[in-house]
Amino acid sequence: MSTRQPGAARGGKLRAPLLFAAMAALLLIEAFTTGWNGALGIVNMGLISAILALGVNMQWGYAGLFNTGVVGFIALGGLGPVLVSMKPTPGAFSAGGWGILLAFAIALVTIAAAVWLNRHLKRMKGLAILAVLIAGFFLYRAIFDPAVAAIQAINPASAGYLGGLGLPTLLSWPVGALLAAGAAWVVGKTALGLRSDYLAVATLGIGEIIVAVLKNEEWLDRGVLNVTGIPRSWPVPYEVDLQADPGFLERVAAFGLDPVTTSTITVKLLYGALFAAVLLVLIWALQLALNSPWGRMMRAIRDNEVAAEAMGKNVTGRHLQIFILGCAVIGLAGAMMISLDGQMTPSSYNPLRYTFLIWVMVIVGGSGNNWGSVLGGMLIWFVWIKAEVWGPQIMHVVTATLADGPLKQHLVDSAPHMRLVMMGLILLLVLRFSPRGLLPEK
């Protein structure tokens, strides 16, 4: 985009390794000052953030698509573990499962009929489409509502939803990616090809809607009641099982370590290794794609759509492709996050945290550069977590000279919100003084 400026970044070939070393040093300092447990927690979410940033970078850095609905695709990815790895609720499917499937089939047929009418009818088109849509909607609701009521009536305190398939959690990650990709196809099919600002507003809407669906459709994911106890993915064990495992206790005792702390650190290390493996595979695939003719074509389209179109490239088609792929990566990370947390809390999906913070990661890291996104993801996540601690500390220093009173109390209490201001300032400073980010695109 036009933020691109000529001239190479300082540091040349050593720039990326040096910056990554600095990031590692920051994390090591964190580990030695506040403990390995906290530091590894930051690393794990940092790795997930890096994958999220990779997904957004594909859309923005490769293709210049402004997706402001990231939060929705993360949430949809998180539905993967719920649908795949939770135990099915006994009797729920026979009570209302078929009704819901039938209702969805009716919805699909209705939409298909409306599209067909739109293409083939000449006179009275608007009226006919409206009539079909309204009839379809009422039929859908007539079948859907009783099915939902039947499902939600089953043991509402602890279940009240369909439940999952009871399959391994690892399998749910690609399912999360598929769910996000499916939604992206629907959105992209309608909204791509519009101007960039319109796409931004349209995706903002779809993000809100997906989160609203997850909050309210209790038959699907219990809504605001949350799904808890989502099983961990292979090969990560539970801390209590580790602490009861004689082999583990023996090894811990041999090193003279505390079994409780060691078990939590072991779990986090295993998750970290798993996430890092996923990240590396993704980066490898993305670097291959970016350096292939396909990657060159994507950059050509991004830099000059008109010229690329004149060369016979299908711009809208390529945009749709990259939009779906990017959303799939975002969904994958969303699913990983849910299996790390072990619970699905739809009300926690806040667009500032899950859309715009990811954007800060991509811009700070360097849009168009995959390693930049990884660095940005880790760094900004680190700053975001630490800012919650730094805010009050800074505020205490600032207000040290103030007399104790309601004003001082108010300022100290609201200090955690300073991290939003901090993120905004970081984004503005990077856009102004270093628009190509920490690791610029080559």
């Binding site: 036009s2 931004a200 809407g205 809607i209 609203a212 667009p351 954007w359 300032l425």
Partner: protein, 335 residues
Amino acid sequence: MDILNALVAILNYVVVPATAYGAQLALGALGVTLIYGILRFSNFAHGDTMAFGTAITILVTWALQAAGLSFGPLPTALVALPFGIAATALLVLGTDRIVYAYYRKVRAAPVVLTMVSVGVMFVMNGLTRVLIGVDEIKFTDGARFLISAQEFKKATGLAEPLAIRTTQAITVITAAIVVAALFWFLAKTRAGKSMRAFSDNEDLALLSGINPNRVVAMTWIIAAALATIAGTLYGLDKSFKAFNYFQLLLPVFAAAIVGGLGNPLGAIAGGFIIAYSEVAVTYAWKKVAIYLIPGYQSDNLLQLLSTEYKFAVSFTILIIVLLFKPTGLFKGKSV
């Protein structure tokens, strides 16, 4: 009688709230559309500008109330409104000087400016939270009702009540005054004409000797005033909560785009279209059906969508308009 009752029910539950909401959206969309028309980018910070202006207005309102001042039957917030507008105008002018001016100078692409506005959004969001916190705040005072439900029932003898809250009436009247003033300003004054000229053709306007800095500054001041008024009216009508204002971004943008971005008249029409659709789709029509259809009995609420899905309404209208009429219902710009 039943038909009258049905009509009153529709008035009470659909027309009155939707008109107030539509006026608030229209004012918000006017700000978005002005910035788009003259500064040529989608300002994602507009929701948080509304929140900031409202927060200042609330703080001044509290100060006035603490000093024992009030505005009779009208809410004290109306007295505090000019202070809120002034503070917000200063904030956005400062933001323009420090942040946006540079990108105009280097003639950055609109999408870069939109990205920059995301940074501004974060800062303003944080500032508002530090200023006033994240809790829900009700700050309306004065008389609660213009027409209360009991009075209306007694006066007309109908079974259905019609209540018009003072805040709803104030919203519509204020919005009408503001819109009239804005259109008079744009159509009749020299400054307003220079703004329209700048919006139509920047280069030609510059050649005619129009000072771009003045046009930009005026645009920001007007946008700040519109945002603060819209935010305060929304807060008086419902309540103030920082996050809700951020979420208003979607219906406000939908209103501006549906009407045609850059077209002030379109923004107003868009605001009312979005508001009426949202309220009509999320209203439970059962009561009206019972009045209108003799012998109608059903457990069905006749509610098309639950209120949680009101965003889906703005979104659907937005998509339909964009698919079939990409420049909006009234002719907008396409940059």
